[in-house]
């Protein structure tokens, strides 16, 4: 199994290397199929692992593989792979989406300026994503964490001729790095106290009490439990960045500047879920307070992003905010202790959100072709206000869109219903039964279900708004509509596969009860025990107990709110009973706030980045124009002034003395010049006189 995992890890890297160094030469010779082939090979290998896992059917299955990497004698870092059921399922998710996206891209990206480069970047992304999934230690996760950041940067900026794309790539990378600082600091705390980065060892050592014994060495004897909370939250900061949680979510909508398949792969299905995956991995050593923080951030993000998605007109922006919102769900689930639900939603979301993005890509692709035909280069191909009535022209895309929208909105028979319901039930149970963590202590725990159900209603609303605006009604721009046609098979087949994977039974087999998530997935994935021994840990028993009680009311409520959202959407956008414009006018401030993303970008730019850059400018000027110019060169200038003074004194006194002696010797010279005859014999005489005088002087 380890060997399989190594192949899965490194094959995509091979694809990257081939495409970067040889890709250009084979661009016209179907070179991209090498990458596609490699990707499907990893898919097959992943499926083999999946089958092996299913045949074992052991929830406690795990496997670890070490390799010493860095050894300083007194300090070492090991790298290695850790494989359990979560790993295998994640590997499959990555492999499925990645291979389908590869296939899809052969059509979508056809004729692109940097076609081979694109496939190379997809390769390195898949490699680093698999690295995150397989990592057995925080340090290794961090390495691949940065590498997915790199590939995300490269792919967002794929069309860097556009300033907006270049900006978005940079923004994504830097925003992620802000989160990474937190993660890195958290790692440092853990490594300092426990002396290891390895997940298993961390949990073990905390359990053994090493943490309680050693934590006092940091921050002047901090309370160990508090430090563990801090460490957990800091590591989670990495997830905040990568999974686009509030307040570091701003990069994800901008990242839609990248090609749409990339958005599907990286910014919807896999990479952004890496944050959630990280939280899954650190779950055993999160304290109650840390989990409360995580839950609150996730819940807030879920509803916050949903409110923004309502008013967006760009089809990809809607989906982007929906992604942020759904990621918030997952994070909230993990924070409330609904471990299985959180991870479940990660998997189901990957399928239907991947499909949604690819389907929107299909629409955009069709729009582009049509705009190209009518030589219109002004119109935005992604703006839903230019679409409408597409269902007749693009039936497959439309069908996929319907299925996946139903899934994301939480409509029974689709996977999203099951996972979302589990999350909502979890938040309900948390609010009702858990008494530890600051949310519970402040009596704010009920905020979480409120966020959750609110977001569920809004999700149903804006997703159907998207469908109605795009596929229903009459065509808003008939001249474009005329040339719209369904995308080719290589694009629609991946769509259909993902749509099938969004059905409920995929995850519940062998059971086929559409309203119960019980099945292979819940059997294989089980909540780990908390390793926290330093203070209040998460009360898993209370929670599990409450989960049963909350299940039915939560399901009922979620169905009701989803139906409400759907109904409102039908009324406004399908039947036009309520005018959207009037509603917007009435809501005024709220509408503008939502439309402008609650001004977060403006806040960052004007509140943080601009002042900071000004500060940098000031530092730069201070350094050269003030510090260097006045202080350092001041030394030089003062030295010059002093030397000028000294020079003056020199002229008058020292030089005067010198000149005086000069005068004397001039006179002497004038006097003595008569003895300089130029005749050698005269000189000889003088020498002899001198010698004689010396003799005489010596004797007397």
């Amino acid at each position: 199994m380890i060997k399989l995992a190594l192949f899965i890890l490194f094959l995509p890297l091979l694809s990257f290397v081939l495409q970067i160094f040889l890709g250009r030469r084979f661009e016209d010779k179907k070179g991209e199929w090498v990458s596609v082939g490699i990707q499907f090979t990893t898919l097959i290998l992943s499926l083999i692992m999946f089958v092996m896992m299913m045949s074992k059917h052991d929830p406690g299955f795990s496997l670890e593989f070490h390799q010493s990497w860095l050894d300083l004698g007194l300090f070492k870092i090991d790298l290695g792979l850790y494989i359990d059921n979560i790993t295998v399922i994640m590997l499959n998710v990555v492999a499925i989406i990645s291979s389908l996206v590869h296939l899809y891209s052969t059509a979508y990206m056809e004729g692109d300026v940097r076609y081979s480069r694109y496939f190379g970047f997809l390769g390195i992304f898949t490699f680093s994503m698999n690295g995150i999934v397989l990592a057995n230690s925080l340090f290794m996760i961090y390495i691949f964490w940065e590498l997915v950041g790199l590939s995300s940067y490269l792919l967002i900026g794929h069309w860097w001729e556009k300033d907006s794309a270049a900006n978005a790539g940079k923004k994504a990378f830097i925003t992620n790095r802000v989160g990474d600082i937190g993660m890195f600091t958290g790692m440092l705390i853990i490594a300092t106290v426990l002396g290891t980065f390895n997940f298993q060892q961390i949990a073990e050592r905390i359990h053994e009490g090493v943490w309680a014994a050693n934590a006092g060495m940091l921050f002047g004897g901090i309370e160990p439990h508090k430090l563990l909370t801090i460490a957990g939250v800091l590591v989670f900061m990495g997830a905040v960045g990568k999974s686009a949680q509030f307040p570091l979510h701003v990069w994800l909508p901008d990242a839609m500047e990248g090609p749409t398949p990339v958005s599907a792969l990286i910014h919807a299905a896999t990479m952004v879920a890496a944050g959630v995956y990280l939280t899954v991995r650190i779950f055993p050593f999160l304290t109650a307070d840390a989990m409360a923080t995580i839950a609150f951030i996730g819940g807030f993000t879920a509803i916050y992003a949903a409110t923004i998605a309502i008013t967006q007109n760009d089809i990809k922006k809607v989906l982007a905010y929906s992604t942020v919102s759904q990621l918030g769900y997952m994070v909230m689930a993990l924070g409330t202790g609904a471990y299985v639900a959180g991870f479940f939603h990660l998997v189901t979301h990957a399928m239907f959100k991947g499909a949604l993005f690819l389907a929107s890509g299909s629409v955009i692709h069709a729009m582009h072709h049509s705009l190209h035909k009518i030589h219109d280069h002004e119109t935005d191909a992604q703006d839903m206000r230019n679409m409408g009535g597409l269902r007749t022209r693009m039936p497959i895309t439309f069908g996929v869109f319907m299925i996946t929208t139903a899934a994301i909105s939480g409509i029974p028979l689709f996977s999203g219903f099951l996972s979302k319901d589990a999350i909502l039930a979890g938040s309900w149970a948390y609010a009702a039964n858990v008494h530890e963590g600051w949310l519970a202590n402040l009596h704010l725990a009920w905020l979480l279900p409120v966020f959750g159900f609110g977001a569920a209603a809004i999700t149903a609303f804006y997703m159907f708004r998207l469908i109605f605006m795009t596929f229903y009604g009459e065509a808003k721009r008939p001249e474009i509509f005329r040339h719209i046609k369904e995308s080719p098979k290589v694009m629609t087949v991946p769509l259909m596969i993902l749509a099938i994977l969004s059905m409920f039974f995929v995850f519940t087999l062998p059971s086929v009860n559409p309203i119960s998530s019980h099945g292979w997935f819940t059997e294989l994935i089980q909540s780990p025990e908390s390793a926290v021994t330093t203070g209040p840990a998460f009360e898993l028993e209370h929670f599990e107990h409450g989960l049963h009680a909350a299940h039915v009311p939560a399901m009922a409520t979620s169905l009701i709110v989803a139906a409400l959202g759907l109904l409102l959407s039908v009324l406004i956008y399908l039947l036009k009973k309520i005018s959207a414009e009037e509603l917007a006018q009435k809501l005024g401030v709220l509408y503008r706030g939502s439309f402008n993303k609650w001004y977060m970008d403006e806040f960052y730019i004007n509140g943080i980045i601009r002042p900071f850059l000004k500060g940098c400018g000031a530092v730069g000027r201070f350094d050269l124009d003030f510090y260097d110019h006045y202080l350092i060169n001041g030394w030089g200038r003062n030295a010059k002034k002093t030397s000028r003074g000294v020079g003056l004194a020199d002229d008058l006194i020292v030089d005067g003395a010198v000149n005086f002696s000069g005068i004397i010797f001039q006179w002497l010279g004038w006097t003595l010049k008569f003895i300089q005859t130029g005749k050698i014999q005269n000189y000889l005489i003088f020498v002899l006189i001198g010698a004689a005088l010396l003799f005489v002087a010596n004797v007397f």
């Binding site: 300090f75 340090f139 940098c616």
Partner: protein, 502 residues
């Protein structure tokens, strides 16, 4: 032969400089290729040195030890250990590659290459000498060629830059000289031998000098001397100017090797010889490291001149080195020396790349380009690689050394390290921002016919890229090379601290 490897590797360039000086000045090819051959030979010798070097030992090796001026107990004492071996390799590697960046020097070639070789010898000598007096001589030998190389072959403000560099470093040298003489006269018997001085470490903490603790006074003297070379804030202002005005190859040497001499000096002399004072000064050193990291990065963000930006990035990166070594932990110390090596290779790449662009466009204004990745894709790719290596991306060696510095420093200077991590973001900020403005966006029509990077330039860059990448994936060889010595050093300083009750 093997016993004199270090002498050979040090004096080979001087011999080369003499030979170059005898070649008629019209024979340009002979001068260039001759220099390349000599530095290449030096590189081979440096690799050979690593081959005969015993990785597991913390002692100095390949020792050459003779009395030189016996009346003053001055010795000709060469030797390398795990601290200097990476530096010797770095010097040889960069000297060799920098020759290829010197190809388009446009005047007085003979003088240039002869001085270049002299500089090379000076640098090598600093890293291999174990007698403080000898060390000082090489330290000064390096200074003069540098002055002329900047002052004659530099950019428009070259004379100002050169004189500034010279005065700054000379000021440092004077303090260094004072510190050296103080050590000499306190030690009993009077000696310049660094190993013996290190053994007498405890004495310096007890003796009084000018009514103060001699160890601390000398440490401060040496600190300023070395800090100017590093450069540590507030002694850094010579650096941007000197870098900007120097010709490409000299910038490479300046950033790649010269900056390392400051930190090397700390680890070779200040730390082992003045152990008590080192512990006393560790915290200020870490704070200065933090200031370097943040201040350098902020200043880099503000620059419009690409080369200046890279220069300030050096200030920032050297801050990590200071932080790592101030911590006095195995991870921090190894990280610091590893970072010295990595910064050498990475900043060398950066300066070479800036030089390539400058040769074609004749300016370095970041705002003055735009979209040139379209016309020079290979150049853009190599630059992207170097920039990502510079901002500490995993997979490149810089990441490992920075991470080690942080890991090492965290238990000791927790808050300082936390603040220093902000440097990671800032580094990403200025590199990516600069990259975007130069390479991305609409193509600036002025540069439609920009020439792609040529094979000679690639030849100088690719070895560095390979080294950076290889050590990023598999750092063990380099870390093995130095860990024995550095762990020993950390142990020695810590033990001294315990004895002194600190």
């Amino acid at each position: 032969m093997e016993n004199h490897l270090l002498s050979i590797v040090t004096f080979l360039p001087i011999f080369g400089a003499l030979v170059i000086a005898l070649v008629p000045k019209e024979k340009l090819d002979i001068i260039r290729w001759g220099t390349a051959a000599i530095t290449g030979l030096q590189l081979i010798l440096a690799i050979w040195i690593l081959k005969v070097f015993d990785f597991s030992s913390a002692d100095v090796q390949l020792v050459e030890h003779f009395a030189w001026i016996p009346d003053f107990n001055i010795e000709y004492f060469l030797g390398i250990d795990g601290l200097s071996a990476p530096m010797v390799l770095l010097t040889a590697l960069l000297s060799f590659l920098a020759v290829f960046s010197s190809w388009n020097i446009d005047k007085a070639h003979k003088g240039y290459f002869a001085l270049f070789l002299l500089l090379d010898a000076g640098m090598m000598g600093v890293f291999v000498s174990l007698d403080f007096f000898l060390f000082y001589i090489f330290w000064e030998v390096m200074l003069l060629p540098m002055y002329f190389l900047i002052g004659i072959w530099g950019g428009p403000q070259r004379e100002y830059a050169a004189i500034k560099f010279f005065l700054y470093t000379l000021f440092g040298s004077v303090l260094l000289l004072l510190g050296m003489l103080a050590l000499y006269f306190i030690s009993e018997p009077h000696t310049f031998n660094m190993l013996i001085l290190a053994e007498q470490s405890a004495e310096f903490g007890k003796t009084l000098l000018l009514g103060m603790n001699a160890g601390k006074v000398i440490f401060i003297l040496l600190f300023i001397g070395f800090a100017i070379k590093v450069p540590i804030f507030p002694f850094h202002t010579w650096l941007p100017l000197a870098h900007v005005e120097a010709p490409t190859a000299i910038s490479v040497i300046l950033a790649g090797v010269l900056l390392k001499m400051g930190t090397y000096g700390f680890l070779r002399i200040s730390f082992p010889v003045l152990k008590d004072a080192t512990l006393w000064f560790a915290l200020p050193l870490a704070i200065l490291g933090l200031i370097n990291v943040i201040y350098g990065a902020m200043a880099a963000l503000a620059q419009r001149d690409l080369k200046k930006m890279v220069a300030y990035s050096s200030v920032s990166h050297m801050g990590f080195v200071l932080l790592g070594m101030a911590a006095l932990t195995p991870a921090g110390m190894n990280g610091a020396v590893f970072q010295m090596f990595n910064h050498g290779t990475i900043s060398a790449m950066l300066f070479m790349l800036v030089g390539v662009l400058y040769d074609r466009a004749h300016h370095r204004d970041i705002e003055g380009f735009g979209g040139i990745a379209k016309v020079v894709p290979i150049y853009a790719g190599v630059t992207a690689l170097a920039f990502f290596a510079g901002l500490g991306l995993p997979g490149f060696s810089g990441f490992i050394s920075e991470a080690l510095c942080f890991i090492g420093a965290f238990p000791v200077f927790t808050w300082i390290t936390i603040f220093a991590t902000v440097g990671i973001v800032l580094n990403a900020g200025y590199f990516l921002w600069a990259y975007q403005r130069v390479f991305m966006g609409e193509l600036n029509s002025k540069y439609e016919n920009l020439e792609e990077i040529n094979n000679r330039e690639l030849f100088a860059l690719i070895p560095l890229a390979i080294v950076t990448f290889f050590l990023g994936v598999y750092p063990t060889p380099m870390l093995n090379l130095m860990s024995a010595t550095l762990n020993h050093l950390v142990e020695a300083v810590k033990t001294a601290g315990m004895v002194a009750g600190l």
